[in-house]
């Protein structure tokens, strides 16, 4: 797939988001990120890859400044969003400035209906009711299933419906930058495609920047322009998405292609000891 020229042109020298060598500690004793740096150019799509527990979610939470309510803190390094130090902004101020996070694990407001959930996403907006109603329509357009279930209490909807609801809710804030944490989780294949199409669409048409943590490496590298690979709280590899996709190790461990052929899940060997990059 080709990188849209228009988007590329808007990329400027100063990155939209830059994470500089941050260290994150939970509960004062659990060191999770051990110096992570990454840049997200304005109008870019950057994928954050890595195994379970590598620290993807933690990185995103550090960016949206939600760590302290999980008893985590950034002990070193700095994060600049649009040239402003993130640590000095409250989470809602960040949203106001256009940086919103879709949290992992479909954190919908269980007692609100699907539609109310979507509307809370528009809380920071001041551009009037009709603009919000328009966007609501747009989200229903993306996810027709949500329209069907608009009046249902979100807590009772299915896992996938909740995931759509969480993504739709973030879209409702008309963000400039979206931090997507595992958007494809629990979604049917078509919807996964749909989500990545939305990402591409918003990126191209509205110049929305994306940082996405994703396990579906295949998809992520297809749509992203840059990728970072996290292991154990460190960035072990980064580069152009295409270059990463061509890397032998990435192919083997993340794309499951060895010798250019996908192996059946039935035939996988039982890895007792996995190969890891050394940081």
């Amino acid at each position: 797939m080709s990188i849209p020229e228009a988007a590329k042109a808007t990329e400027t020298a100063t990155p939209f988001l830059s994470v500089n060598n941050i260290e994150v500690v939970y509960d004062h004793v659990i060191l999770v990120l051990k110096g992570v740096s990454l840049d997200v150019p304005r109008g870019g799509i950057v994928a954050l890859l890595g195994a379970n527990g590598a620290g993807k979610t933690t990185t995103l939470k550090a960016v949206s400044n939600l760590l302290h309510s999980e008893r985590g803190e950034v002990t070193k390094g700095s994060i600049l969003f649009d040239s402003v130090e993130v640590q000095s902004l409250s989470p809602n101020e960040l949203v106001r400035r256009g940086c919103i996070q879709v949290m992992e694990g479909r954190r919908c407001f269980a007692h609100l209906t699907v539609e109310e959930n979507l509307l809370t996403g528009a809380f920071t907006r001041v551009d009037g009711k009709s603009a919000i109603a328009e966007d609501l329509e747009r989200v229903y357009g993306y996810f027709p299933r949500l329209r069907e279930r608009r009046g249902s209490t979100a807590g009772y909807t299915s896992g996938g419906e909740q995931q759509m609801c969480a993504i739709g809710r973030a879209l409702m804030s008309r963000p400039k930058m979206i931090l997507l944490d595992e958007p494809s989780m629990g979604l049917a294949p078509q919807i996964v495609e749909e989500i990545f199409e939305i990402v591409k669409d918003l990126n191209v048409r509205e110049n929305v920047t994306f940082l996405l943590a994703e396990q579906n490496t295949n998809m992520a590298l297809k749509y992203a322009r840059h990728g970072y690979i996290l292991e154990n709280g460190r960035v072990v590899m980064d580069g152009e998405a295409r270059a990463l996709a061509a890397n032998e190790d990435v192919k083997e461990f993340y794309l499951g292609i060895a010798g250019d052929k996908r192996k059946s899940f039935r035939d996988v060997k039982h890895y007792k000891r996995r190969k890891r990059w050394l940081a």
């Binding site: 939600l66 809602n92 949203v95 106001r96 996070q101 954190r107 269980a110 809370t120 809380f123």
Partner: protein, 306 residues
């Protein structure tokens, strides 16, 4: 018959007075999932601030109505400051913690408020006379002695009605109302969509403080403003859970049920088994209601999904 009616009406009315206190609980619970143990202490603080400033103003020669307006204003400012302090230093830093921790922190707040309120405003009993406290005797031609209705109770009922109507509108389908409920469901997700939790909580605690002030005017007239007013919280609890922790109108309905139930029980049952049963009767009533509806009459359904 006359007595039955009288007890029933009296019970309904006094139940509504409890609703005034219960409302404060509902507000904060609805907006942050915090069970605010400090509501009783807030009534005390509001009452003391009001009555002490009122006394001071009257003593300094202000006409009564001016003094009342200024006094209420002063008490409201005190409640605003309290709300700000609580948000800034207690509840704010505890965002995203579980319910029991938050509950415990409001107990800390209770201690602080009780200590500070009495230290600043005094720990005596201060009479407050904002509403008439005598009674009407209705239907005197129908029943010997008539049916007694306290004027204060009627005032209390009226005020509670107005409050509930106002708050119900506030919560219903306004943007802020929706945000409040979202915060109660999930602090962190609410933060992530840009709801300014700090500000929201300040507003809610302020409104709860003002509701406490209103409760203090009524109860202060009834009891005098004094420490014992904090015990109202205990009487408000059964009201609260019968109506449902999250329902504003539920607070009123709960009040009516508890008030009528416990007074009738005390008068007609208590005399046979030794009296003093109304405290536990209210709770047993609540227990019975919960067995049928575990979320109270109007509470939000407890979601069970896996």
């Amino acid at each position: 018959m006359g007595q039955f009616l009288e007890v029933l009406i009296g019970g309904l009315m006094s139940g509504v007075l409890y609703s005034l206190v219960a409302l404060g609980f509902v507000l904060i619970f609805k907006a942050s999932g915090v069970f605010n143990f400090a509501q009783g202490a807030m009534v005390l603080l509001a009452g003391l601030a009001l009555v002490r400033s009122l006394d001071l103003l009257v003593a300094n020669g202000f006409p009564l109505w001016v003094a009342i307006v200024l006094g209420i204003g002063f008490a409201a400012v005190i409640m605003a400051i309290t709300a700000w302090l609580i948000e800034r230093f207690v509840i704010g830093p505890l965002v995203n913690q579980d319910g029991l921790t938050l509950f415990m922190s409001t107990i800390g707040v209770t201690f602080i408020l009780e200590g500070a309120a009495q230290m600043i405003f005094g720990s005596g009993s201060y009479p407050l006379r904002l509403f008439p406290t005598d009674a009407w005797f209705l239907f005197e031609n129908l029943f010997p002695g008539g049916i007694l209705v306290n004027k204060l109770d009627v005032w209390g009922g009226f005020i509670a009605g107005v409050l509930v109507a106002g708050l119900a509108i506030f919560f219903q389908r306004t943007k802020t109302g929706r945000a409040l409920r979202a915060v109660a469901d999930d602090h962190m997700a609410a933060q992530s969509v840009g709801i300014p939790i700090g500000w929201i909580w300040f507003v809610v605690w302020l409104v709860a403080g003002l509701v406490a002030l209103v409760a203090a005017t009524v109860w202060g007239t009834k009891l005098g403003v004094q420490f014992s007013i904090t015990f109202l919280a205990l009487k408000a609890l059964p009201v609260l859970i019968i109506g449902g922790l999250t329902s504003v109108p539920g607070a009123i309905v709960g009040g009516l049920i508890v008030g009528a139930g416990e007074k009738l029980a005390e008068v007609f049952l208590g005399s046979h088994i030794g009296g003093g049963i109304e405290y536990w009767f209210a709770y047993v009533l609540a227990l019975a209601v919960l067995l049928v509806r575990p979320q109270g009459l109007f509470g939000e359904r407890i979601i069970e999904r896996i």
